[in-house]
Symmetry: C2
Subunit: 301 residues, 2 copies
């Protein structure tokens, strides 16, 4: 295959998930560009490792790419689409972010106004470069089948929905709405039980009636604390998604608040214990938080 016959794909940006997507597209046979301008040393290392080519600036990526795949935190998805549109992109723009169907459709209008085509995407699963079947990229819109071919047979499996833009994002919102929404609820319940001094009783009850919950509620804290800052925007998008069809948005407004209170763990090297996370969740101004700290002090003393 010559360089000319290969599809050139711009990958914006090779964060944790983005680099996994990039590696998959490279495995599918495409040339994958990224823009190093303003990105961190960690991102550079990930991009190199994934086999991506540094095009330097966003403008160079836009000019050289037939396809652009956007993989950013949800609150950055619309801004990136606008920046790409302003640079006159006329290829296929794939938004693979955790955004509401309405946000995805709005992104579609922005890039289509610049002359590009739009494919809606949603990624479900961890940022893996391992076994195929663990993580799926849902795609919807008229160009979905063409984009699925770009993903090839790499670790991330492309699933084409026979549905308009918005559908792939809806699958992602529904999936994360339960998964991350439910984990936030579990973390809140453990924090409540600790604040009320009944955590041991709750864990004993769960061991009888729901034996998976003690470990699940701990993972809800351990696995999410470091990533919580990224989930804030995602919970806002899910709240908006449910509200748009007349369902209560409050589940995910609460989940947003839980993740916002854990956002300080962004750069932590060691995940917090449930007790440590609970002190953050209850907040410094709360009398229960004071009671909790007294108990923790007593235990240490």
């Amino acid at each position: 295959m010559t360089t000319e016959s290969r599809t050139t794909v711009g990958l914006l940006h090779p964060g944790d998930m983005g680099s996994a997507v990039g590696a998959t597209v490279v495995a599918g046979g495409a040339r994958v560009l990224w823009a190093s301008a303003g990105r961190s040393a960690a991102t550079r290392a990930r991009a190199r490792e994934a086999g991506l080519e540094d095009a330097g600036t966003l403008e160079s990526v836009v000019q050289a790419s037939r396809v652009i795949v956007s993989v950013v935190p949800p609150h950055g998805a619309a801004d990136l689409a606008r920046a790409v549109a302003q640079l006159g992109f006329r290829g296929v723009y794939v938004d693979a972010n955790a955004v509401a169907p309405a946000t995805a459709r709005e992104i579609g209008r922005v890039v289509e106004a610049a002359g590009a085509r739009f494919v809606d995407g949603g990624i479900i699963g961890p940022a893996t470069r391992g076994t195929r079947g663990v993580t799926r990229v849902y795609l919807s819109g008229p160009g979905a089948t063409e984009i699925a071919a770009v993903f090839g047979a790499g670790p991330l499996e492309a699933v084409v929905l026979d549905a308009p833009p918005g559908a792939a994002s809806a699958v992602k919102m529904a999936y994360a709405g339960w998964n991350k929404g439910g984990q936030a609820l579990l973390a809140a319940i453990r924090a409540f039980a600790l604040a009320e001094g009944v955590d041991a009783a709750l864990l004993a009850e769960w061991k009888i009636s729901h034996p998976d919950l003690p470990a699940r509620s701990e993972r809800a804290v351990y696995d999410n604390a470091k990533k919580a800052w990224r989930f804030v925007g995602e919970m806002e998008e899910i709240a908006r998604s449910l509200a748009a069809v007349g369902l209560p948005s409050a589940f995910h407004e609460a989940a947003r608040e839980i993740y916002a209170r854990l956002a300080d763990y962004k750069d932590t090297t060691q995940p917090p214990t449930v007790e440590e996370a609970t002190a953050k969740l209850l907040g410094p101004a709360n009398p229960s938080s004071g009671r909790l700290r007294v108990r923790l002090r007593n235990r240490e003393g």
Copy 2:
């Protein structure tokens, strides 16, 4: 054992769970009274079957009982305590309802002001008269051990917490906060997926990554629709419980709304399908609900 040496317990009221509690206390050796005044034929039948003695009026129950156990929907718990206090009850008052710790403590103050003692209770599990170990009554407060003896070794197991009033209610709120709060979230997510036309895609994804969720989300509707009217007050108590320690109340405000929209299924003989419940959850004024109905019509036609 003569009638005189047996403890007389007033059971208010023998609904589904109340009659299971009554049968357990009867099995423990106590004489159990109830008040038929103003109660339905179904309640009379349940009380008879559980071996309870009809004392006629609330006043007669209060005068004859050394212990009163309150098992009512959460929104009725405080009113019943006030009515019993006004009748001059001076025995042990057990509130076994799904109320916030603060509500339980307020009920305690009301009955103690009348000269009674107070024990806080919380029931976790189904209304069973079968195998011991399925359902537990958590008890807290100075009289908890004495009351545990009244429950004996019947189907409902009494668990004494070495903690003040409020703790038993806190265990119940935490347990139901996940259980019923999570089920409301699952029902909302299925409704969202149906409204967006991606329910089949969500179920297919769940079958791969969370194979228990398709059935769990259906049970969240089937098992709860008939009881949803009772959960409205319980979700309000859980929202209040979390807010009291500085946690977001919005999870359970949303869950309250979900159950309120299903409240019409109170007298249903057959549980609704997920699709039927979704039409209720989205509400008649919602355009998505209209879209959903069109799809259902097409499928039937």
